[in-house]
């Protein structure tokens, strides 16, 4: 079964003919070639595929593509501002060394975005809860948490465009 779905993707109205068994992750990577969103476990454990749907972080590997009809989807590519300027959260991860191999990073950053949108000044505990659906197998989280704290500061001084 196939259907044309319409949704907002990183600020643009888009449509795509999608097969009914595809997940949002497949559509993003295979049809829109937005390969920043990664497939890790494919089972909702690791969070590498995290994107925002209507502002909420979800695992795109478990999100049936048909369900995004009429919704707004933001991927890691959508965070980059005018003139390829990194989003403050991205900048904080780069500067804070919250990245090692980088595979978990897009998902980690999307969960951070959802967290900071709801809680602009999270406690360390809230940060840990906020990224509890994102696994990193390299750095061990210390620098990731520091990067998120840095992102909070950066967003104060250079708010999102």
């Amino acid at each position: 079964m196939k259907k044309e779905i319409h949704f907002e993707l990183n600020g643009y109205e888009v449509s795509a003919e999608v097969e009914s068994h595809k997940m949002l992750l497949n559509v993003l990577r295979e049809q829109f070639h937005l390969t920043g969103t990664k497939e890790g476990c494919g089972q909702g454990e690791c969070g590498a595929c995290t994107v925002l749907v209507d502002g909420l972080n979800v695992d795109s590997c478990l999100y049936p593509a048909f369900e995004v009809e009429g919704k707004s989807v933001t991927t890691i590519e959508g965070l980059v501002g005018e003139g390829n300027v990194l989003h403050p959260i991205q900048k904080a991860f780069v500067e804070g060394g919250g990245i090692q191999c980088g595979f978990c990073t897009p998902g980690m950053i999307m969960s951070t975005k959802a967290l900071l949108d709801e809680t602009p000044h999270p406690s360390e505990e809230q940060i840990k809860k906020g990224i509890s659906g994102n696994l990193c197998r390299c750095t061990g989280y210390v620098q990731i948490i520091e990067s998120i704290e840095k992102a909070v500061d950066l967003m104060e001084t250079e708010p999102e465009k």
Binding site: H21, G42, G47, L56, P64, F66, S111, G133
Partner: protein, 284 residues
């Protein structure tokens, strides 16, 4: 991934019509965080999924004394509701440690309960509050006390055409407190064991209590022997210790990848003990 068709009915009768048309090759899908995983693991191979996400009547919840919880309410909204926390702390505690934020942003109590995992975190709080599950099908609607709903791992008394539509938690009376506790490898994991307690107190005496534990039997389990031990008695430290021991012997756990029978018995006793104390503290 196996191909399947995907339908998004906007009301229950459309959903029933689709189920009637496709029969046993079809399955209802809620948030999908369990079902899609099982399809990917080839544990189930449906040809058709009928999504319940567009059915407005299944969404949201209302607190007025008791709680009327739509089966498709989102865990994220329950977790953030002060009203829900006041009305039923045990349920909110269970929901806040269920999987991770991404899952809670799409997953629902209806899905959690209908999947009937013995470890379902929603089940013990709903068992101790004696929730009533409203189930609708092509033939009409029926109310099922949650204690008779679960029949085995993944098995409920619903037939395949029926949909869990509403969960009703009756208003608690008197000085009543509830609590939920869970042990997993980390809290977002599937429970090694979980437990919920409801205590209705009169001074130091337990007027009524309800105790339930999960991941320690083929179904989420009411612990009637522990309840009988406590009810009508003055609750002191010694009695709470005894309740923990009885809980450890009343559960029927197995050894699997997540834990051993022995540890589950031990930890179920500990969780019940702690949850009794916590629920009593809230019953003031």
């Amino acid at each position: 991934m196996k191909k399947f068709d995907y339908y998004q009915p906007e009301n229950l009768s459309e959903a029933f019509d689709l189920m009637e048309k496709f029969g046993e090759t079809a399955k209802y899908i809620a948030g999908g965080t369990d079902l899609i995983v099982r399809i990917k693991q080839k544990a189930i191979q449906p040809d058709v999924l009928i999504s319940l996400r567009a059915i407005g009547s299944l969404k949201g919840f209302k607190v007025n004394g008791g709680i009327s919880l739509g089966s498709m309410a989102l865990f994220r909204d329950i977790e953030r509701s002060e009203e829900m926390r006041n009305a039923c702390p045990a349920l909110v505690e269970a929901v806040s440690v269920l999987a991770n934020p991404q899952v809670r942003n799409v997953a629902t109590p209806g899905g959690n309960i209908s999947n009937a995992a013995p470890s379902a975190d929603c089940a013990p709080p709903l068992l101790v509050t004696e929730a009533v599950l409203t189930v609708a099908g092509p033939g009409g609607e029926r109310d099922i006390p949650i204690e008779t709903f679960f029949e085995g791992p993944g098995k409920t008394c619903m037939d395949a055409t029926e949909i869990l539509t509403r969960i009703t938690i009756p208003e608690t009376v008197g000085k009543t407190g509830t609590a939920f506790l869970k042990v997993g490898r980390v809290s977002q994991d599937i429970a090694i064991a979980n437990a919920a307690v409801l205590m209705m107190m009169e001074g130091k005496t337990c007027r009524k209590c309800r105790i339930a534990a999960g991941a320690v039997a083929p179904v989420p389990l009411r612990l009637h022997r522990v309840e009988a031990l406590l009810e009508g008695k003055k609750v002191d430290q010694e009695l709470v210790e005894e309740a923990g021991r009885v809980a450890g012997s009343e559960v029927q756990p197995i050894t699997d990848v997540r834990s051993t029978e022995e540890y589950r018995r031990h930890i179920a006793g500990v969780l019940v003990k702690k949850a009794i104390q916590e629920a009593m503290g809230r019953a003031g």
